[in-house]
Symmetry: C2
Subunit: 205 residues, 2 copies
């Protein structure tokens, strides 16, 4: 299977970590984002939104979207389980994962789109007030995560799941590229970040 990728992009990184946790080897194909290859008609056949990542199966069928790809990989290789083992645990992991995506990742995205790097690319006119509001919501969410992670080892409970993968990819991207590194006094959040970064699946990608 091929994964259409771009080094440093947070969404393909989610899939690469997910695959590494399951010892699934994917052939990586770098998409030339600077050359707008992801908006070419050929690529839009693979990915209707013109985004990466995309998983291309050996028979040529494609799946776009990091979490859709991750669910497919979980079906192929169920262990180690990353989406939940029974109905209630699956719902709890989905709930925590959606909090991360809808309340943290979405706000980091707004801060990124309205920040200086995207402005320099000339793709959108930055809206400073939108960036300021999202920056504040991200910092508030970091506080909430710190409180929660003082009470449990991982985002969705006592074991590593998809919620941690999305969380670490989001926070690493926010820290490196969006100027939104968690404050030093958020010690439970820092301890979780260190715990997650130590995993072999993260060190290999």
């Amino acid at each position: 299977m091929k994964l259409y990728d771009f080094p440093g992009a947070p969404n393909p990184r989610r899939v690469k970590i997910f695959a590494a946790e399951k010892d699934i080897v994917l052939e990586l194909v770098n998409v030339n984002l600077a050359g707008r290859e992801h908006k070419d008609p050929d690529f839009l056949q693979k990915s209707p939104s013109g985004k990466i990542p995309v998983l291309e199966l050996d028979d040529g069928r494609c799946i776009a979207e990091s979490i859709a790809i991750s669910r497919y990989l979980e079906s192929l290789v169920p262990e180690p389980n990353l989406f939940g083992r029974d109905a209630f645990e699956t719902a709890q992991i989905e709930m925590q994962h959606r909090f991360i995506e809808l309340e943290l990742f979405a706000q980091v995205g707004i801060s990124w789109v309205n920040g200086p790097i995207v402005a320099k690319m000339g793709l959108v006119d930055p809206i400073e007030a939108a960036k300021q509001r999202s920056d504040g919501l991200v910092k508030a969410y970091y506080q909430r995560l710190n409180t929660e992670l003082a009470q449990r080892d991982y985002i969705a409970g006592d074991r590593f799941t998809i919620a941690d993968i999305s969380g670490v990819c989001c926070i690493d991207f926010a820290s490196a590229m969006v100027g939104l590194k968690p404050a030093d006094d958020l010690t439970a959040l820092a301890a979780w970040l260190a715990r997650v970064h130590e995993r072999p699946g993260l060190q290999s990608v």
Copy 2:
């Protein structure tokens, strides 16, 4: 099972339609949003984000988030299937559902938060430029959906799924409350809306 609800809110509506499609009867409990009941410490125990919907099981355990609840209900009552039957179909439905959520629902949310009704509530300072940008992205997404729905009967393929439930709840809310009704010339989108509204599961909630 109890569902903490608010009439007209799009996210509880997703769960009510999902349950109705499966003939699952939920006891509805209206949350007093105007009185900020959803931010009370007791309610935050049920819903860490202070949002509706929340499903309370008969043993008192709670699941927040519309899609987490829907996945739980799918586990309890697998038919009619709404999330996918095999690995590839499940991934395709998830992909299309995520397009709706990340590219349409999220933008409707930004237009709503920065629109006149929320401004009147005094909860946030509206950012007009953010509303304008999101309005434009919503209209562009309606065009895309219209093109796609000229080629297939439902959002994720040839049958009704969770992607249609999220799509109709989003578009009905955008039309009624955010001033973002699809243009009349989007005939394939209009035909899909009519097809979905005719379902017994939508007429009963």
